[in-house]
Symmetry: C2
Subunit: 206 residues, 2 copies
């Protein structure tokens, strides 16, 4: 059985949903980044980078959302979570997820995690003020250029969808009005109705 | 023939080297990010995100270094640039590249591109001051935990190697002493001797 180290409110939600969609035999190991669990020795032994997600498999540990999502798609091909037989289409899926990881998530992280890149309180405040603009610009690109609909890649649901759903869930907290992005908003609502998403989110309530 | 939009000094070097290693039929389309070419309408028509690399193929445009690198590995399987038949090992390669894109490159970008995430000159200065520490911490993790040797993934050269080589080339400019990281430094020297790397770098001199 695989074990996914997960923190509620973090991007590891995307991997949890993908595991659920794949029908994988897995358990969630929930840690609290608010309490700093990710920096404790027990967790650093799993992922020395001190971040979630980390997926423990019988072969070892995998980290980084885009890598874990692609792994789930490849390890459970019957779930058809990515265009596995078409390197170009697979690369498009990966490009979308890489954009979410390297640009969108990073823009968001400047709201609360400015200490990664600066030391002064004035810089943290400046960074936090800019988040609505920087995250908003990312979702403008997604809405206008990247998103095809009804799913990210078009007609086929894929590993891009739970990842977009996860990051789109941060918009209000980041001070961005999701109403500017009707395609993203409708996608978020469509995602919330999927059984796999409901099942994962029910674990939070439990 | 494929066309790689590339800027010298940027991360697109990794994709250029991978294309060369793969024996791909490609041309480099060099733009200058210093001159702002990436924000001109002609380039935004290629990549609306205004970043390099962008790989133009006969199927369309691919963006994001990790996605392009995995695509090159999959499109040229005979070059054996990734463990394509082993989803777990492939995910490990992808996790490394995703870490470079989302954490290492992002830390580096705070030296000159603070305007992406803040507005005040004082914040830019604060960010730039922190780069030696934040980038240094990334390479400490690579040196101590992630790098196997002689290549990133061990005995087999892969798409992780040109990407590490590219980012390790920024250490001195970021105020990080590469001598702290002997494995990374030796890897950088080993990479510089590869014919594919020499061939790409010769195009800069030309």
């Amino acid at each position: 059985m695989m074990k996914l180290f997960h923190a509620w409110g973090s991007c590891s939600l995307a991997s949890a949903i993908a595991l659920e969609e794949a029908g994988a035999d897995y358990e969630l190991a929930v840690i609290s980044t608010r309490d700093g669990d990710q920096r404790r020795p027990e967790y650093l032994a799993v992922n020395p980078n001190g971040r979630v997600p980390a997926l423990v498999t019988d072969r070892g540990v995998l980290t980084e959302s885009p890598a874990i999502l692609a792994y789930i798609a490849q390890a459970f091909p019957q779930a058809r979570l990515a265009p596995l037989d078409d390197p170009f289409a697979f690369a498009q899926a990966q490009a979308f997820n890489s954009y979410l990881a390297s640009t969108v998530h990073v823009a968001h992280a400047h709201r609360h995690r400015g200490y990664r890149w600066a030391d002064e309180e004035s810089s943290f405040a400046d960074m936090a003020r800019k988040v609505p603009q920087s995250v908003g610009a990312c979702f403008r690109l997604i809405e206008d250029e990247l998103f095809r609909g009804p799913w990210v890649l078009g007609e086929a649901y894929s590993i891009c969808d739970p990842y977009l759903f996860t990051l789109a869930g941060w918009l209000e907290g980041d001070g961005v009005d999701p109403g500017q992005f009707p395609k993203v908003l409708e996608h978020r609502q469509r995602m919330a109705e999927r059984p796999a998403v409901r099942k994962v989110l029910a674990k939070k309530a439990a």
